[in-house]
């Protein structure tokens, strides 16, 4: 019976109309991933803080979030109670998948969290610094195997940007895609690849234990708690941040948009959310309104440019 109840819960959440101020948050990914965890943490915070009485999370996995995004945009038009979690990965996925639905078709509300991409090598590697890596890359780009998440994602983009910044042809980057940070981590620890890219939190415990050497972080500022320079400091002109955001349905009035933004902001400032950030190792990069819109725009054009350079997008 429990099974049926769960099934009813999941399917019901997709179709049942929500009550006023009862949000439905779509995680356009399977249970367990970063977006799912973001959505579920939001659910917890909104309920605990009394922002919304009843929050449902639904999972629509697939294709870097574009499947969920398409479904959200077509089915929730004008619904002020529907939210979707997304992030930088979506920006790239929309381009590589030639998704018919883009972020223009939803109402982005705010950026919630951000994370630097960490550039690591196994402890036994002869690469000691970004300079060493750049030298190797210039000597023979193919001989440097980069391990990271799926093709066209933020890890791949970072690899492409680094190559481009040091005048190596980005199409020559030998990028090996793994289906998640965990699998990539195993390949790096096993010494099967030269260098690894993933979110800093993914590598944190290995760096602490001395199994991995953190060469640099991808953001324009250093990451607290990690003794590593930024790529900029190392003379590689690259600054990338992987971020997660929340968006609302298309076709909302300005008042509705303002009301949702206020709710999300209250959630992001709440003690529940802040303490969840701390335990998960997420960094608060809350940004809304025009500033967020501008950042989104800048990221979109930069991403399109580098994906073209890498050759993933025509």
């Amino acid at each position: 019976m429990n099974k049926l109840l769960l099934a009813a819960l999941v399917t019901g959440a997709l179709s049942a109309p929500a009550f006023a101020a009862d949000y439905t948050i779509m995680a356009p990914a399977g249970p367990g991933g970063g977006w799912d965890q973001t959505a579920r943490t939001m659910q917890e915070a909104m309920q605990a803080e009394g922002i919304s009485g009843n929050v449902q999370v639904t999972n629509v996995p697939g294709a870097g979030g574009t499947i969920g995004l398409a479904q959200f945009a077509t089915q929730e038009n004008g619904n002020p109670n529907a939210l979707i979690v997304g992030g930088y990965v979506m920006v790239g996925a929309i381009l590589t998948n030639m998704s018919p639905v883009t972020l223009e078709d939803v109402t982005p509300i705010a950026r919630l969290t951000g994370e630097a991409v960490a550039l690591v090598v196994p402890a036994a590697s002869d690469i000691q610094s970004v300079d060493d890596l750049v030298a190797k890359l210039k000597e023979n780009p193919g001989a440097v195997a980069w391990a990271g998440g799926s093709a066209g994602g933020v890890d791949h983009i970072t690899a492409g940007l680094i190559a481009k910044a040091v005048d190596v042809d980005p199409t020559q980057v030998n990028y090996i895609a793994y289906s998640g940070g965990g699998e990539a981590l195993a390949a790096i620890l096993g010494g099967q690849v030269t260098v690894g890219l993933s979110g800093v939190s993914e590598f944190a415990s290995q760096i602490e234990a001395g199994e991995l050497r953190l060469l640099a972080v991808s953001t324009d500022t250093r990451v607290p708690g990690f003794d590593a320079p930024t790529l900029m400091e190392e003379g590689v002109d690259v600054a990338v941040q992987n971020w997660r955001m929340v968006a609302a349905a298309p076709g909302l009035s300005d008042e509705q948009k303002a009301a949702i933004t206020a709710d999300v902001k209250a959630m992001a400032e709440s003690a529940t959310w802040q303490s969840a950030l701390a335990t998960r190792g997420w960094v608060d990069t809350y940004l809304d309104g025009d500033a967020f819109a501008a950042q989104l725009e800048a990221d979109k054009s930069a991403t399109e440019a580098i994906l073209k350079d890498i050759g993933l997008v025509q």
Partner: protein
Amino acid sequence: METFDLLAQGLLSALQVHNLIYALIGVTLGTAVGVLPGIGPALTVALLLPVTYKLDPAGSLIMFAGIYYGGMYGGSTTSILLNTPGESASIVTALEGNKMARQGRGGPALATAAIGSFVAGLLATLGLAFIAPFVVKFALSFGPWDYFALMVLAFVTVSAAFGDSALRGLTALFIGLGLGLIGIDLQTGQTRLAFNVMDLLDGIEVTTLAVALFAIGETLKTASDRDQANTEVTAVKGSVWMTLEDWKRSWASWLRGTFIGFPIGAMPAGGADVASFLSYSTEKTFSKKPEEFGNGAIEGVAGPEAANNASAAGTLVPLLTLGLPTTATAAIMLAGFQQFGLQPGPLLFANNAPLVWALIASLLVANFMLLVLNLPLIGLWVKLLTIPKHWLYAGILTFATLGTLGANGAMSMGFGPVRISFELVLLLAFGILGYLLRRFGYPIAPVVVGLILGPMAEQQLRRALAISQGEIGVLISSPISITLYVAAIIAVGVPLILRLRGQGGVLRQLATDED
């Protein structure tokens, strides 16, 4: 000695009454969840995570453990009784288990699955406690070339193990391989064979295909076949419990299954399904009665079920020692651990020893609870088979549909205002494919095997060749890969030699005498 002390302390805390109740709730929920195709353990743990925030660390770890092991076990019940695998790791169980159920031996099939899961869970959990650091070293040494060799071994042994006609087996396998190509390619991000259908971007869901081919296909076949529709299913023939003969045939299979499942589960790109395939073909090779395979051989249930559960414990090896979640369930459990300040990773055993041992003790308790819960239920479960056929199959159809909707309820297709679920359309289409395959005598399992292993093999091969920059020699450059290829050759060669020597004939003769 210290290890034993810590484990004893963990067990003491896990054996408190309220913790036992959490364990019971966990395994009940987990089993229930494993039974319905579609709702996996990952979603259950995700849904229950907020509930466990209110419990103390030990309590919630115990509940996680219960759900986790329960989910792995639950899938076998529907596989055996209804030929409807709840998740990819119980597909193999359906092959022999359901045949046994139809011969009135559903009781022993369920019992060997339950006890095998217990034995495997017990041994693998002890393995997790004592040899995790060594296992993880072995698992990490697997490069893409080694994984590819492992896939080759799985392909070769599994295809050899299915059916009598190599041509039909291979045809079915290639249908699966073809289906496996659909979706976004991981290495390049480009879409293949999706024909602009959004729902196909992420490929074909294994459970949808498996449920359709097994359950829907068979329902159609039964409905279309007048003779079969009228035959009585023997609900129970002989004892509901395992006979001495069953025990004799099962115990070695449980151990072999555990031995295969634990290390493969620990591999970042392994998985319970691969382990269960390999176990099935191993059992067929080692069985004294290989001719019974395909007609309800108990070894074919005992081995894969043990492998499946051992692999679940194996998954926790990289999670606890490296902080590396290799399945969605593990990823959610990781989030659960973090809320107690438990940081999985190389320093975990040093920094959080009491909690880790509480978790390992919870796993042992949950495993035991699972046996306590399930053995008495067997008598009840087999009664399902006494349901008249038309009702039973109607139930199976409802069940399969609900499960598919539960996994992906998106009403993503539509004709005008009428919204329909693309996943259900797929389910029905594959159901018809399953009917046709059965109608013309093609085996079903290789299709599913192709869909599961094909994409894995492809990705690993391409990774290996990309890392070596196109140098093919990389594929046989490591001792592990060479060993695996040799094993593949032996796996194909030994049955051939046996058959040439005429032993197969003798065994077959013996089997007919027995009947």
